[in-house]
């Protein structure tokens, strides 16, 4: 599958479905808030085991990073591939 296929899959114009009312209400409420308020409530910090234990990590490839996550992080963090 190439990049064009992926984009077609992920941003189809013919796949629109109704927005669930509770989500729509949330989107509209967020749109009424100024950016500063949105950011204040959006960023949280909780300790993530292993991931937060090193001050710096660099990976040559995304594949290397994904494999590192799958090997080293607890599954419940959700960084593993499906």
């Amino acid at each position: 599958m190439d990049f064009a296929d992926l984009r077609e899959m992920e941003s189809p114009t013919d796949k629109s479905s109704p927005i669930p009312p509770e989500w729509l209400a949330e989107f509209e409420a967020a749109a009424r808030r100024p950016l500063e308020t949105r950011l204040r409530y959006a960023f949280i910090h909780t300790y993530k085991p292993v991931l937060d234990d090193e001050p710096f990590r660099a990976f040559a490839t995304m594949e290397e990073y994904r494999r590192w996550c799958e090997t080293n992080l607890p599954e419940w963090l959700g960084y593993g591939r499906v």
Partner: protein, 158 residues
Amino acid sequence: MAAFDYRQAREIRDVFGSFHVRYLFLGKSGAILLGYPDTTQDADLFVERSPQNGQALVRALRQLGFALTETQAGEINRGKDFVQLKNGPFDLDLVFAPDGIERFEDAWSRRVEVEGYPVCHIDDIIASKAATNRQKDRESLPRLRSFREYWLKHHPGS
């Protein structure tokens, strides 16, 4: 480590701007800048990979207070695909080659400016999340796709 906040987002925008760093907010932090109501823990930046941009990025990060050794600065300069920084005033993920987006230039041409913040288009944010195929991204995709519909309706032509 305190949570990332508005003041720090503004510092990134201003300092990166002053050093002419080419970057885009990506991931959930990018979606949040577009108006998506959700929470996240750090900011993800899609950074253009070039020697000049790498050097500018290192200078900007040091100015922001990231304690980079020469070795670490070298790794950022060389543009490794993914760099995770937790040695500064806030957590930052630098992505030089995000899954699902082929070239920085393509994403740059589709970018959205939100109060001076350069942000990936919602389609690129969704494409990159979908391409990771991670559990945590899969769970967030249905709501993100609904937000895309809402956002496009309110930003015709985007």
